[in-house]
Amino acid sequence: MREKTLDMTDIAISMRGISKTFGSVVANDDIHFEVRRGEIHALLGENGSGKSTLMNILSGIYRPDQGVIDVYGKEKVFLSPKDSIACGIGMVHQHFKLAEALTAAENISGGSKGFLTRRKKESDAIRIFSEKYGMEIRPEQLTNQLSVSEKQTVEILKVLYRGAEILVLDEPTAVLTPQEIRRLFRVLRKMRDDGCSIVFISHKLNEVMDLCDRVTVLRKGKSIATYDVDAIDAYELVEKMVGRKVDLSIDRPDPPVDRKECLAVDRLTVRDENGYKKLNEVSFSLANGEILGVAGLAGSGQKELCEAIAGILPCETGMISFEGTQISGKSPREIIRRGVSMSFIPEDRLGMGLCASMDITENILLKDYAFTPGPFLQTAKAKEKAERIVRELEISTPGIDHPVRKLSGGNIQKVILGREINLSPKLIITAYAVRGLDIHSSYTIYNLLNEQKRKNVAILYIGEDLDVLLELCDRIMVLCAGEVTGIVDARTVTKEEVGQMMSGTRYEDLKGGVEYVSNS
């Protein structure tokens, strides 16, 4: 902590008494939030605690019903995002808002002022600008050819280039490897030392403890307290966030002794619908009562792996067998009938797996509606099932006839997982099951999966958070650009090793010898 005397202009943002209601929902209730100049301030809170609403107010998207916002000691009213940007506030969203067909430089500058573009000059200016913060960037590159981490750099630069001194980062680490996260943190610290203020929204407590100076905790729309990070530990923070004590360790039940092979994938090669090879000779096996984690950067072939097993994407070569019978080439419905359950949660969460504007009951029906006799939908049973899932998974919703689009992210994921578990599957493939979820909901999901594991269900867990993968899974398979770079024992491998495999180093090169962990 750097000691400094504070005068008014050292407070970058002061939001006082902010309240905002949407219909009957109180999203923000008398929130106080203050960010100093030159600090990294974490905003912590569960889903629905009001973080997004508060940040949307700060970036001028919503107007508060009550409350005052001061920027550098001067009261401001934001009528639109433009006003907020003019005050030097920049928002880096979780899902990038970039024009994919333009170059990085064009995205950053937002087009030049004059009639003609001066590409070279602009690129140089941007390169010099980015070096100031120690960021690496290829300004001439088309945005759709950039990696996720590079796209994020473009997003941050875009905001800085427009003159932002106060940055809001919404879960920036969700899509990065450990190495990339460290690089991002270096950049953020540099920016802080240059006098920028950073609001850092994250669910990962270790990141908050590592990076931030202060932390403000929100719970149920209220600001609970602000702490110096040095003066509080992670357990206390969680308690403040959730409102009660939470055990942070993830359970890992031992797999059963008499394991049978449930899923065997043999030299699987898959192309996506555009003909690009997305999986190359992938082989692995998965036993009953085992959780096999899949680690890898976004877009390393996880989606295609799920879809190939579920029968949605055709296999080019290779075999997938489930309980001894070959299922590659079978229709998705046939594979569902055999007890393979796949829940893939895409980035937009509602793209595949759910129908956004349909209600919970109709979404519960999605997987097994076809297996009842007759041409009519059997809604009565589905309603009962929906009621039960809502009750058992503690989904907070006004009712089962509520459209899922209006549920919060955590509840949406619970609907998917509830539906899948309800089919009593023998194999669960789950991708990004906790994406964007808060601690409490994430642990509910881990417990659900472990419960299934104890019931001898085989689980393929495609994850993002390495800490979780290491704690939850029995083994971890690492994918890099569609190839398996290693299948390792999750109890012994280190995060660094997995990180290196994610960026392409093979496990045998890492250790200097073949050291695959066998399945039996």
């Binding site: 006003d83 998705p332 796949m342 893939f344 509602l350 076809a370």
Partner: protein
């Protein structure tokens, strides 16, 4: 300063108030126009209402116009549920009529009426379905844009019916007047309560479409495919099959609407047989939020507007162009009102100016 904000949830009462308000606004605009042109707006609107609902015969005329409109809208809505933008209603109506006419002309003259009507109905369905299936297949197997494709199919159908009208099916008994032979007498739909029995078909199909969409597996699949094709795929649905079935049902119903008009009201196939129902039904379907029962009501209202404006042309010598503009203003306002169902205009408070930029 005013700005536009998204609405969250709107109580149903407000939604209907907004709809009513927008129609009122349309009427008001129409009044201003009439004043400028020197017509008495109260008299004109009065005549419009009286002409559409004022007497039993007016009501009969209105319902006769509403019948093909409602069934066409019901058909189009099935495609719209799948986000298959079928704007080929005109062509599908025409082809339904062409098929039905062909059947009626080629059955032995002693065929009993009910059998002839049944076969004509099937032919009408087949004609519309066939015309919708062509763009449907291209959409599914070569990813063509169905909006443009269905639109273009309208002009092809129109060309075909013109050719039939002037050349191929031209009635030699019509003293040189270009005209297709009328359908035989026993193919006319029976009349109940003064209106041809197409109105019973409207009720039946409104119920059937409602049940199809809400209660059957196929309807569920249609909605899921419209919501998200990847999700449908993931759930094991055969997306192509669902799309094809939906397109056939959609085009088929539209074709049937044409057959009902032919067999119930006009009796003769001509290039002007659609009376624009294929396009007007798009408005009906959207104004009703694709809900089957609402579509029936909205069809009657829009039919009333059409019937009423015909009456003011005759009674008050309002030119047909002005009558069309009045119709257009009211429809435009009604559609514009949908915007306010989703967005609202917020007035920014005065103190905003100080803070702002």
């Amino acid at each position: 300063m005013f700005r536009i904000a998204k609405r969250d949830d709107l109580p149903t009462v407000y939604a209907y108030l907004i709809r009513a308000g927008s129609i009122l606004a349309g009427l008001l605009l129409a009044c201003i126009l009439m004043l400028i042109l020197g017509y008495n707006p109260i008299e004109t609107l009065g005549a419009l209402v009286a002409g559409s609902f004022g007497s039993p015969s007016a009501i009969r005329n209105t319902i006769t116009i509403a019948i093909p409109l409602a069934i066409t809208a019901l058909g189009l809505a099935i495609a719209f549920r799948m986000k298959f933008w079928n704007i080929g209603g005109e062509g599908q109506i025409i082809m339904g009529c062409v098929f039905a006419t062909f059947v009626s002309h080629n059955l032995p003259p002693e065929t009993p009426g009910f059998l002839m009507i049944l076969l004509m109905g099937l032919a009408g369905f087949a004609g519309g379905a066939f015309w919708a299936l062509i763009p449907g297949l291209f959409r599914i197997y070569s990813r063509t844009n169905e909006t443009l494709f269905t639109l273009m199919m309208n002009y092809i159908a129109l060309g075909i019916v013109q050719y039939l009208h002037y050349v191929l099916w031209r009635d030699p008994m019509a003293n040189g007047f270009p005209k297709i032979r009328a359908i035989p007498e026993q193919a006319h739909l029976p009349v109940i309560f003064g209106v041809h029995t197409g109105w019973i078909a409207v009720i039946i199909f409104a119920v059937l479409v409602f049940l199809l969409i809400r209660k059957t597996k196929l309807g569920y699949e249609i909605r899921v495919v419209g919501e998200s094709a990847p999700t449908a795929n993931y759930a094991g649905m055969n997306v192509k099959k669902v799309l094809l079935t939906g397109v056939i049902l959609s085009g088929g119903l539209v074709g049937l609407a044409g057959m009902l008009k032919l067999s119930g009201a006009v009796y003769t196939l001509s290039p002007s047989i659609t009376g624009n129902a294929g396009f007007t039904a798009i408005i009906v379907a959207w104004l009703s939020g694709l809900s089957a029962p609402v579509m029936v009501l909205v069809s009657i209202l829009i039919a009333a507007l059409e019937q009423g404006s015909q009456v003011i042309q005759i009674k008050l010598q309002v030119p047909s162009s002005v009558a069309s503009v009045i119709q257009g203003l009211i429809l435009m306002s009604a559609l514009g009102g949908e915007f306010f169902l989703r967005y609202r205009v917020v007035k920014d408070s005065k103190d905003a100016k100080k803070g702002g930029v």
